[in-house]
Amino acid sequence: MNSTLFQINNITFAYPKNPPLFQDFSFEIKQDDKILLYGANGSGKSTLLALLMGLLTPQQGNITLNDISVQELTPDRYNEVLYSRQNARMDLFGLVPRNDWELWHLALPDIFTEQSLFFVDSDLIAKYDTPYARLSGGELRAFSLLWLPLLQDRFWLLDEPTAGLDAKHKKDFVERCLNKNERGYLIVSHDPVLTENLFNRIILLEKGRLTQIK
């Protein structure tokens, strides 16, 4: 099972009119890796995730997901990964949380059944039809992480997943990480609530270089 999921091969990436953020950069992520990625603001953590998802294209080198270049991935290939951005609103589809669930239902009808809604805590279900514009940042984040228990078989790429969450939701999130046994995750975070025992690799990203701390 612990085969390579993502492979970054000697990439160079720079935003227009800026010095390279990554130069001749290589990195391997295995299916079962549980990685914490941290580093100073602007060190390129979110950019790295965007590169892994094919949202950005490196000027040199290539990135593969299961040996297929991320630039050539068909939608069904994304079944293996769950990507959550720093801005939780950007993870949520449609106008209200119900639309987001409906999209998941279309993608995975056997998992996102009507019964799946019973798992949602009552505070959130009360706001199930509330427009995103009327939800707080913490509530948006809670909704964006709501379905993690049903998406155990995906590798999670989560960018600052605990930002804006209250203590209760942070605790729930940590439990979800502890209980994840199918595939791993890569979490970008500076939150001390995410303790060392949740990860088998802790990596510092600094000046386009990775330093393995654990």
């Binding site: 994304y78 106008l95 279309l106 993608a107």
Partner: protein
């Protein structure tokens, strides 16, 4: 070119788009298109690969317009063919003219899209127009690109869930598009509300005389641009009146 006053960009874009709408002569339209393309090139760089990427999506529209004009305008000199597939000079002229007009309008929009809210503020302040004008015009110009970005992002979300839209039944596709269009509309309304509140907080409706942090002076480039616009407009007017 970037040294121009923001008002000059607006005037140039208005001049080009006015020419696109009101000038019927093909040589003059071609000249307007070339000038607009050069102006845009000086502004954004002559990156023809990027230009092609942007215009490529409009080619089916251009071809459709050309074919419709060729097939349905039966005036002027017969150039080729016979009966229903005959091509006449007026049809060809109109087909090319409409496409040139669209290209000029597209390039003019690209020029305006480079301007920030502060640029509009400076430009309208120069004309002593209220700040509401700058806000409304800036917001209107940016609605289509920002809605386009929102649609792209929503389609990306669909892809990241592992859904191939083309393989979905039509009913599900329509549901997805309905949600996307509603969220785009809600996003536009919500953002305009926030922007309007931000402007209110700056006290822009205060009746007292406003001060402006951002000031731009006209340069020699601006006067050269205005002089060129006036000369070309006069030459055009003389040519059609003569």
């Amino acid at each position: 070119m970037n040294k121009l006053h923001p008002l000059s960009f607006i005037i140039a874009a208005l001049w080009f788009s006015t020419a696109a709408i009101f000038v019927p002569q093909l040589p003059w339209l071609t000249l307007a298109f070339l000038l607009c393309a050069i102006f845009r090139g000086l502004l954004t760089g002559f990156n023809f690969r990027l230009w092609w990427k942007q215009v490529r999506k409009m080619i089916p529209l251009f071809l459709a317009i050309l074919v419709i004009q060729l097939l349905f305008t039966k005036k002027g000199e017969l150039l080729w063919g016979k009966s229903w597939y005959a091509i006449y000079s007026v049809g060809l002229h109109r087909g090319i003219a409409v496409n040139l007009r669209l290209l000029i309008l597209f390039f003019s929009a690209q020029i305006l899209l480079r301007l920030t809210y502060e640029d509009f503020d400076i430009a309208f302040n120069t004309l002593h127009l209220p700040e509401e004008f700058a806000f409304m015009i800036f917001y209107t110009i940016h609605i289509i690109p920002s809605a386009g970005e929102h649609i792209q992002h929503s389609l990306q979300l669909v892809k990241f869930r592992g859904i191939n839209l083309r393989k979905l039944p039509l009913k599900s596709q329509l549901t997805i598009y309905r949600y996307i269009s509603l969220s785009v509309l809600a996003d536009v309304l919500s953002r305009s509300e926030i922007q309007a509140i931000a402007l209110d907080l700056r006290g822009f409706r205060s009746t007292r005389k406003h001060t402006h942090l951002l000031q731009n002076n006209f340069s020699l480039y601006d006067f050269m641009l205005y002089l060129s616009i006036i000369i070309i407009t006069l030459v055009y007017l003389f040519s059609i009146l003569a």
